[in-house]
Symmetry: C2
Subunit: 282 residues, 2 copies
């Protein structure tokens, strides 16, 4: 089935396996100040993909598995989320989902790399489609600096970052998490992408041990994510006061479910049920 003429985008994780995708052509490839940014068109149902330093960030075909989960799970725990901060997430997929919540008045996107935003606006329109929404303020800025003096400003903070190496490294520190906590309003919730339970066990252990020093309430939720390492992904759910499944916004959920490929109330409620090995890790 794999003739010598076919070309594959291949990404092998440290556990020795990974994803291979039939590649069509590289549409964009540039080195930014921070990383190599590429948009690759594939000959697959995944469509176009965004990679940063040769790691898959998002694909047109399966991005909804990730973006519905990082946004709606924390946001449905808040009765009236008006102000939201998205850290990273330059592709715009998280912003698109956040704006489905009609309570939201303002979303700040703090993305360090303007080239990611520009490339996604041009090549991934189904993902970046809401970046020009008037409720969105885009800051091309290092979130580590941005967050330092922000107190009591956001109902929801979503950390849609790269991995804990490279430009994203400083987003996985106790100092940063402390600043995030102080930037949250009362009743606020932070969610953060937290790597693959299948292949990033050490990274998960380290990240949750830091998070638990900062947030009195901290747990993981998981869902399928086909093109990420192991096909299975975890996000951290952290708050000073809001426990998982302690609140669910029925009205917004009913409307938003109609627009989602995955998200619904039962699926929401099921997300915090974790495999034994992951419960032990965190």
């Amino acid at each position: 089935m794999n003739t010598t003429m076919e070309k594959f985008y291949k990404e092998i994780n440290p556990a020795g396996f990974g994803v291979a995708i039939k590649q069509k052509e590289v549409l964009f490839s540039e080195q930014s100040e921070f990383q190599k940014v590429e948009i690759i068109d594939t000959d697959s149902e995944l469509g176009r993909i965004l990679t940063l330093d040769d790691l898959m960030m998002t694909t047109e075909g399966d991005e909804f598995y990730y973006h519905e989960m990082i946004s709606h799970i924390p946001m449905m725990h808040h009765a009236n989320p008006k102000s939201v901060l998205v850290i990273g997430g330059g592709d715009g997929g998280t912003i698109r989902e956040v704006l489905k919540h009609d309570t939201v008045e303002k979303v700040v996107l703090c993305e360090i790399d303007g080239m990611v935003i520009d490339a996604c606006k041009k090549y991934l329109p189904t993902i970046s489609c809401q970046l020009d929404n008037p409720k969105v303020e885009i800051l091309v800025q290092d979130a580590i600096e941005y967050i330092k003096d922000k107190k009591n400003m956001f109902d929801i903070i979503l950390i849609d970052s790269t991995d804990p190496m490279g430009p994203g490294e400083g987003l996985f520190t106790e100092e940063f998490y402390t600043n995030v906590k102080e930037a949250l309003k009362e009743g606020g919730i932070m969610a953060a992408q937290s790597e693959s339970p299948v292949v990033n066990k050490n990274e998960i252990k380290k990240m949750y041990s830091l998070l638990k020093r900062v947030f009195p309430i901290c747990t993981a939720y998981t869902s399928a994510m086909p093109t990420y390492p192991g096909g299975y992904w975890a996000w951290a759910f952290c708050s000073e006061t809001v426990k998982p499944l302690s609140y669910f916004d029925e009205r917004r959920a009913a409307n938003i479910t109609k627009t989602c490929k995955i998200y619904n109330k039962e699926y929401h409620n099921a997300r915090f049920a974790l495999p034994n090995y992951l419960k032990e890790l965190i």
Copy 2:
């Protein structure tokens, strides 16, 4: 990262993407009467893998994601499962999990291809380890024929088959499902592997439409399965009388959870919460 010296086992699904694994060496490769049977050692955390006709069936590293789900989800719905039939499943992983239920007196393994059993006994001992258990009766036989005259014999039937093409094709028919239903005792449950919600949408639609003609109660449950297409897998849960989550065996679950990498009560309860697109499909 991918030098020309490295060799990869690559499996690309019809959606144009799939899994790539650093390959070490082929330990076994033979054509049986039914299919090509291979055991490949990999340079990855997956260890050794079994492939049939170049499709991945199981790996030492992630088999528990599949085997815990196909067995414990249906079996924990039965108060006293004594007799179990496993169709396919020649690697023995499903048998190993079924035998954790101390109520089980007899398990019949009906596997069409003796070469699969022999190769797994030799090369995959952590998976096949219970195939010689005295409670197990191994029949190297076509399950389509075997099931025809079996009435009211099994509490649980698990269809641990290959895909709906090749030797497994006849296991995806209304006639076969009808025979399975008649082979079940009162209160019996059938579970069957039912392909990837990510890349096998047509196969799922067809399979559940057949199943629903036969079983008054029929739904899907899902879980992560890293090396299968899309990293996300579905199983059918079918019965004449037993509804999903209508019974849970607390005593057996408590003991079995201690031996499992994934399975626990909360994880069990979360499995029937399906993504919107999958609910629509079935």
